[in-house]
């Protein structure tokens, strides 16, 4: 497969399917978090995410991020995969959002971009302030920590277990049903999109110019949406046909054991310490 938007898109969808499979495998392999009751993971990791959001000290948030990395290692998750799928993506997005704060937050000047040229040619570029740099760094590490901890929950818990844990915590059945359908829908969308783009590619020779590529993407998006909407309905009918009524049922009931209570206490204690130390 050569370059071009069609080939890249088809490759992207195939990779997404591969990631879905890897995630499901990771959730079923032995490891620290995988061995815990899903309700403990949900409550404990959510508490850490809230602590990261509330903390105002960079060192505390970095400590929470480090805790996330340790938990990932103890759960035998690949740090390389986390870096590719989480840290780099989050870094890119957050830097874009945080960049204006570097210059616009009032405070003590810290760094002038291109100090010899900027004051003369572009005097409207203000220097980066100490407060701005601090605010941007805090936002970046906060988002990295929160997304890492949430990803740990998703990667170490089979999807249906996660839904059941949400239900056990009194999440409304309608919301669970929507999440269950969303998961099916995403897999279906990915499969359909992958097949559609491969079939399109098989009938093309050479590369399209960027304008044609954009038009093709827009048209394909519309067709894909209506196709998957129809298929999503069919999947829901297939679930109903086998007795699904919105309630998540699993073969294994959740049972809290000693290590689950211990882990819950440890995670809640870490979150409480982070909130207090981060004030």
């Amino acid at each position: 497969m050569s370059g071009g938007v069609i080939a890249r898109t088809a490759r992207g969808f195939t990779a997404a399917l591969g990631h879905a499979l890897i995630s499901e495998r990771a959730a079923r392999q032995p490891g620290l978090l995988q061995a815990l009751d899903p309700r403990v993971k949900l409550v404990g990791l959510l508490a850490l995410v809230i602590a990261a959001a509330l903390s105002r000290r960079i060192a505390v948030v970095v400590a929470l991020l480090a805790l996330g990395v340790l938990l990932a290692l103890a759960s035998r998750l690949s740090l390389w995969s986390l870096a590719q799928r989480v840290w780099l993506v989050v870094f890119g997005f957050t830097v874009m959002i945080a960049a204006p704060a570097l210059f616009l937050t009032p405070g003590e000047p810290w760094l002038q971009i291109a100090p010899r040229i900027a004051p003369r040619l572009a005097p409207w570029i203000p220097p980066i302030t100490v407060q701005g740099a601090r605010a941007a760094t805090l936002l970046l590490v906060r988002v990295e920590a929160a997304v890492t901890l949430s990803t740990l929950l998703v990667l170490t818990t089979p999807w249906m277990h996660l839904l059941k844990a949400l239900r056990a915590l009194k999440f409304p059945v309608e919301a669970i049903m929507m999440l269950a359908m969303t998961h099916r829908y995403v897999v279906l969308l990915t499969e359909t999109a992958s097949a559609m783009f491969e079939s399109r590619q098989s009938r093309m020779v050479g590369r399209l110019d960027p304008r044609q590529e954009r038009r093709l993407m827009v048209n394909s998006g519309g067709v894909l949406l209506s196709k998957t909407f129809e298929m999503g309905n069919q999947v829901f009918l297939a679930m109903q046909a086998r007795g699904f009524r919105g309630e998540v049922r699993l073969l294994d009931e959740f049972h809290m054991r000693g290590r689950d209570y211990l882990a819950l206490c440890a995670l809640l204690a870490a979150a409480a310490i982070a909130v207090v130390a981060g004030r």
Binding site: E191, Q234, A238, R242, L251
Partner: protein, 270 residues
């Protein structure tokens, strides 16, 4: 909840956005019958199966299962719905639609779990069903990674695991290679102990004798014929009018000729 008939459909009508898919269809299905619903694409076979599985409800007419009306209100009653889902199973035409769990084992266990069976019973039934379709080695595999024939067998297993009294099959052998086709037919024959009711929608005439003892031909949402398969298969005019056969052209010993459908057995003299 018992009656002489498994299903009684009277003057059924169902529309998709104003276009009638079923147009005054009436049909009786008796317990233990093996019925083939024949018809070209768009004749209403799949729609009828979905109504019989209480996934859609008629816009006019009535449909009863063992004497009880199949309505939205009836399916809102949890006891009725659970009992109905336990007794009637539908295998969809496209297995990709039906297989939505992360592993084959989860897929087969999905139905029994929804109906609240005890854990041990579920484990026993799932293992037995996977062994029956020869797919124990696939139990940890993701269903969407299976071959077409494997997907179809798992889709059948995911319904048959409930041991329903009525099995509704939508094009069970469509798009399968000949070996997978005969595997599916053998599976269905081995499952049926003579007491099960099997309704199969198909347009593949060559499997008719193996899957049914009664053939119902649909055309534009109505029943146009209801007779034993042999009688239907010898009625070339009916099959042609229902778009089930066509004029076939081929080459034999250097001579090109035409006749109705490659399905009809024929010999060439000289």
């Amino acid at each position: 909840m018992h009656n002489t008939f498994e299903f009684e459909a009277d003057s059924l009508r169902y529309e998709y956005e104003g276009v009638p898919a079923l147009d005054g269809l009436s049909l009786r299905v008796q317990p233990g019958e093996r019925i083939a619903l024949l018809g070209a694409n768009g004749s209403g076979k799949s729609t009828l199966l979905r109504l019989m599985d209480a996934l859609h409800f008629p816009s006019a007419g009535s449909l009863r299962f063992r004497g009880a009306p199949l309505t939205e209100t009836a399916m809102e009653d949890e006891r009725f719905a659970i009992d109905f889902r336990r007794r009637v199973g539908l295998v969809f035409q496209n297995p990709d639609i039906q297989l939505f769990n992360p592993t084959v084992f989860d897929e087969v266990a999905f139905g029994p779990l929804q109906l609240g069976w005890p854990r041990e019973q579920i484990l026993d039934r799932v293992h037995a069903t996977l062994a029956w379709i020869g797919a124990e080695h696939l139990k940890e595999r993701a269903p969407y990674r299976l071959s077409g024939g494997e997907k179809k067998r798992v889709a059948i297993a995911s319904v048959v695991v409930l041991d329903p009294d009525v099995l509704l099959l939508d094009e069970p052998t469509a798009a399968l290679d000949p070996r997978s086709q005969s595997q599916v037919i053998e599976l269905l024959e081995s499952w049926n102990d003579g007491h099960k009711t099997i309704v199969t929608a198909t347009h593949q005439l060559e499997i008719l004798g193996e899957i049914s003892g009664r053939a119902v031909v649909l055309d534009h949402g109505r029943v146009v014929a209801d007779a034993p398969p042999d009688e239907i298969l010898t009625n070339a005019a009916l099959l042609e009018s229902a778009n089930l056969v066509h004029m076939h052209r081929h080459l034999h010993d250097g001579i090109t000729h035409t006749h109705k459908s490659p399905f009809f057995r024929h010999e060439h003299k000289g």
